[in-house]
Amino acid sequence: MPDLLLAAALLVLLSVVAGLARVGPGVVDRIMAAQLLGTGGIAALLLAGVATATPSFVDAALVLALLAAFATVAMARAAPRGDDAS
Amino acid sequence: MTATLYGLLGAALTGIGLFGLLARPERLLRLLAFNLLGGGIFLVFGAVARRGAGAGFAGDPVPQAIILTGIVVAFAATTLAVALLLRIASDDESDKP
C-alpha cells in the first residue's frame, strides 16, 4: 500500500508539472498553472506523508495551502493590464 | 545519490542565476536572477547537509539551520533591493519634464 501511495504522489506531481508547460497565451494561464502546482504539491505531500507515516509532511502541506492562496491573490492583483511581452 | 543529483542541480542553478544577473538589462530580472543564484547555492549546501545524515537524522542539522538562516537573510536583502529599485524608478519619473 505505501508503494501505491508513493506512486500516486509521483503521478500527481508529474501531472501538475506538465501543467507548467502552459506558458501562454495570457497572464491568467500562468497564474492558473502556478495554482495547480500548489494544489498538486499539497496532494503529493499528503500522499507521501501517509505513505511514509511522516506527520510533518501534513504541516508542510498546510503551510503550502495558506501561502499558495496568498500568492494567487497577490498575482491576480498585480497582473498587468496590457500584454506582458515587453 | 539524491544528494549528488540536487548538488549538481544547485551548481547548474548557480550558473543560470549568475548569467541572468550579469546579462539581463532589466533591474527586476537581475534581482530575480540573483535569487535563483541564491537558491542554487542553498541547494549545494543542502546536498552537503544530506550527505552528513547520521545519528538518526535525515541530514546534518547544523548546515540545515544555517540554510534556514540564509533564506531569511536573502529575503531581507531582496526587500531592500526592491525598495532601492522602486525609489530609483520613482526618481527617474519625477526627473522627467
Binding site: L5, V12, D29, I31, L36, L46, A69, R81 | -
Partner: protein, 93 residues
C-alpha cells in the same frame, strides 16, 4: 473488512488522480480562459478531495483525520475565492 477499505481507498485516490490529470489536460487543451479555469477548479476541489478521502482510513499515521480534512478545507476556501478573482481578470482583458 480491511481489504474492502483498502479497495475503496485506492478507488478514491485513483479517481482523484484522474481529476488532476483532467485538470492539467484541460489547462493545456481547452480553448478559452474560462473553461480552463473550470478544469482547474475541478482539480482543486475534487481531485484533492478524493485523495484526502482515500487517505482518511490511514490518517492515524500522520496525526489523525482532522488534519487532512483541515488542509482540504483550506484549499477549498482559497480556491473558491481565487476562481472568481481569476475569472474577472480573464474577462477584463
Amino acid at each position: 473488512m480491511s481489504l474492502l477499505v483498502d479497495a475503496a481507498s485506492i478507488a478514491a485516490i485513483l479517481a482523484g488522480l484522474v481529476f488532476f490529470a483532467a485538470g492539467t489536460a484541460g489547462l493545456l487543451r481547452f480553448p478559452d480562459a474560462s473553461s480552463r479555469l473550470h478544469a482547474l477548479t475541478k482539480a482543486d476541489h475534487l481531485g484533492l478531495g478524493l485523495i484526502v478521502l482515500g487517505l482518511l482510513p490511514r490518517a492515524d499515521a500522520v496525526g489523525g483525520a482532522p488534519r487532512l480534512v483541515a488542509v482540504w478545507l483550506l484549499v477549498l476556501v482559497s480556491s473558491a475565492a481565487a476562481g472568481p478573482l481569476l475569472a474577472r481578470l480573464a474577462r477584463r482583458r
